[in-house]
Symmetry: C2
Subunit: 202 residues, 2 copies
């Protein structure tokens, strides 16, 4: 005798939910059951998905999310003349929320990755130089990943921007806030040591 299972559209929903990051088979089923408890729930989530997909675009200038042509940051006239270069649009708000930066951003749309066939022509590098030629930026801050591909991208951008005569900096590397020595890997420790600063000076 075969054991009963949910109808196919229900199982299709579970499969779709399983694709979400951090959602395993059991929690996908729990989410689907919760959604199916009340017909209003799948409708509301489906409507939110559709309107986010149709309504949210990428800013033509910096690549962040926006409703119209340009995002709130790019049309904000009170920003400092600093340009922070990140890999993805999703990297912008974490920096924005730190409160430590009030300049503008530029999302490259990824990083150089020979293994995944991502070359310089796949990144928004032309848009970056165009902004430097047109705008009045006193400094470019590179906030890319610190792994091998991120470092290669950082080096590439540093070299590419050299002719523009703009100050180029990158994020400090060292111990994460609140982290003990036992939780830091060797490379982080090595970089924290190399970048050590005089105690008492902030």
């Amino acid at each position: 005798m075969k054991s009963a299972d949910y109808p196919e559209p229900f199982r299709a929903l579970v499969r779709e939910l399983r694709r979400l990051p951090g959602v395993g088979p059991r929690s996908a089923e729990r989410l689907a059951l919760w959604l199916m408890e009340d017909g209003e729930r799948p409708s509301a989530l489906s409507a939110a998905l559709t309107s986010a997909r149709d309504g949210v675009r990428h800013c033509a200038e910096c690549g962040f999310f926006c409703l119209g042509e340009h995002c709130d940051i790019c049309i904000d006239g009170a920003r400092e003349p600093l340009l922070c270069v990140v890999e993805r649009a999703t990297d912008i708000l974490p920096i924005e929320r730190s409160g430590a930066f009030r300049g503008r951003y530029h999302a490259l749309g990824g990083r150089l990755s020979p293994l995944e066939h991502v070359g310089p022509e796949d990144l928004r590098l032309g848009e970056l130089t165009t902004r430097l030629e047109r705008g009045h930026f006193t400094e470019v801050i590179l906030a890319l990943s610190t792994d091998v591909e991120g470092e290669a991208t950082t080096s590439y951008v540093v070299e590419m921007l050299a002719p523009y005569g703009v100050n180029i900096s990158r994020l400090a590397q060292g111990m994460p806030a609140g982290g003990g020595l036992e939780s830091a890997d060797e490379l982080t420790l090595a970089r924290a040591l190399a970048g050590r600063r005089q105690a008492g000076v902030v």
Copy 2:
């Protein structure tokens, strides 16, 4: 200067995702970012939600999920003449998957709860007696919750079914599989003691 935020349709999607059980503010944002990375993702999830909402119904007989009028379990002619009464349609598959039961089911659609104004008329009790009058069930197994409201519902159903002269049983109560004594609450221990069985007999 105001800190930038995501566009409203994006935040609406985050709010909708936060309603999902077990999804907090940070993971809702993470899910939304993942969904917005690729336009195919919100479309696929939205389509799965819509087709589950429109395609999946409750079986007219037992209340389980189904595509047509009756579910796979109710149209399965090879089931034993046992009827397992549960609170919700979602309680059926866990029992089905245990492999320890191959009868039929009846979901009440909830349980008696004076505080939430759920009375006998709100449960599928008439459908239950109709099935007993019409069908050939040798035993009714009550598999309701073991909290106060579940116990009250069990008592109510036992009394209601008394005139039908059918065997009525309920799930055993005791120690959960794999659980140590230290993890069991006092009521579970009391019920496990009261229901103790001769060692060596299975």
